[in-house]
C-alpha cells in the first residue's frame, strides 16, 4: 500500500508537464489592452485650437485618438495612414506626447494636418492616463465614449481599423 506514495513525484511531474503543454498552445502573445471596453479617461489637457478639456469632450461621435509625437521616428513613418484615415471622414484626434506647440505645428505644416483637433501634452502624462504601452498608439472610440480597440505601435495599414469605420 505504502508504495503508492512513490508514484506521487511521477504524477506531479506529469500534471505540470501536461499543464505547460496546454499553456504552450493556448497562450496568446498579443492580448487586448485592458482599456478596451472602458470609457475614455478624462485628464487635463490643453486643446490648441478651441480650448477643449480633453478627448472626452467629443462624446457623441465616433472618433480615432492617435497618440504620437513630432520627435518620434515611427510616428512620422505612419503619418500616411493617418492621412488615409482622415479621407474616410472619421474625425481624428491628435495627441502629441512630450511635445511643444512649435514642434507640432512645424511638423504638421511640413507634412499635412489630418486632425480634427490637436492636443499637446507637454508634461508627458498621457501615456499612463491612456494605459498606452508604445508610442505611437491608436485608440478607436465609439459614440458613447467607450474604447473599442487599441492598436499598440505603429499602424501597418488602414485595414487594421477598417472594421470600426463608418
Amino acid at each position: 500500500m505504502k508504495r503508492i506514495w512513490l508514484f506521487i513525484p511521477l504524477a506531479i511531474l506529469m500534471a505540470i508537464l501536461g499543464l505547460i503543454f496546454v499553456v504552450y498552445h493556448s497562450l496568446e502573445y498579443e492580448r487586448a489592452s485592458p482599456m478596451v471596453g472602458q470609457e475614455m479617461p478624462v485628464w487635463p489637457l490643453v486643446g490648441v485650437e478651441n480650448g477643449e478639456q480633453g478627448p472626452a469632450d467629443l462624446k457623441g461621435q465616433k472618433y480615432i485618438l492617435h497618440i504620437g509625437s513630432s520627435w518620434c521616428e515611427t510616428c512620422r513613418n505612419e503619418h500616411q495612414y493617418l492621412e488615409d484615415l482622415a479621407q474616410t471622414g472619421i474625425p481624428l484626434v491628435g495627441l502629441f506626447y512630450k511635445d511643444t506647440p512649435e514642434d507640432v505645428f512645424s511638423f504638421l505644416e511640413e507634412r499635412s494636418d489630418p486632425y480634427e483637433i490637436v492636443f499637446i501634452d507637454t508634461e508627458g502624462k498621457s501615456m499612463v492616463y491612456l494605459g498606452a504601452l508604445a508610442l505611437p498608439s491608436t485608440y478607436i472610440v465609439d459614440e458613447n465614449g467607450i474604447i473599442q480597440e487599441v492598436i499598440s505601435g505603429p499602424l501597418q495599414s488602414t485595414h487594421q481599423v477598417s472594421r470600426f469605420l463608418p
Partner: protein
C-alpha cells in the same frame, strides 16, 4: 513551531513606514514596468517606467492612498502591472500554496519524529 511564531510576530510588529521616500520606493518596487522584462519601475530607466514613477509620485503628493494608486494603474494596465498580486480570493491559490507546503513538510517532520521516538 515557536520559530514560526517568532517570525510571525517579527513581521507583524514591523513599524508602518510613514516616510514618503520609503513609501514611494516600496510602491515603485511593486509596480511592473510593462515594457521591460520582469523589472519593477524602480529598476528601470525606460521612458514608460519614468512616466509611471512620475504618475505615482504625483498621486501620492495629492494624498491618494496606495490602494487608490494601484487600482488606477490596474484599471489601465491590468492586474499584470502589480508585481505582487493582491490578497484577494482569486489569488488564493497563489498565496495559499506556501502555507500548504509548510503544513505538508510539518506533517512529514511529525512522522519522522514519531518514528524516531518509537525506536528509542
Amino acid at each position: 513551531m515557536r520559530v514560526w511564531l517568532f517570525i510571525f510576530i517579527l513581521f507583524a510588529a514591523l513599524p508602518v513606514q510613514a516616510d514618503t521616500t520609503a513609501r514611494l520606493k516600496s510602491l515603485y518596487s511593486q509596480i511592473r514596468c510593462p515594457v521591460c522584462d520582469g523589472q519593477s519601475v524602480e529598476d528601470s530607466e525606460a521612458t514608460l517606467a519614468q512616466d509611471l514613477r512620475r504618475m505615482v509620485y504625483g498621486m501620492a503628493e495629492e494624498g491618494r492612498s496606495d490602494n487608490e494608486i494601484k487600482s488606477f494603474l490596474v484599471q489601465r494596465y491590468g492586474e499584470k502591472i502589480l508585481l505582487k498580486p493582491q490578497f484577494r480570493w482569486e489569488n488564493a491559490p497563489l498565496w495559499g500554496f506556501p502555507i500548504l507546503v509548510l503544513l505538508f513538510i510539518t506533517g512529514i517532520l511529525a512522522r519522522v519524529r514519531h518514528r524516531s521516538r518509537r525506536s528509542l
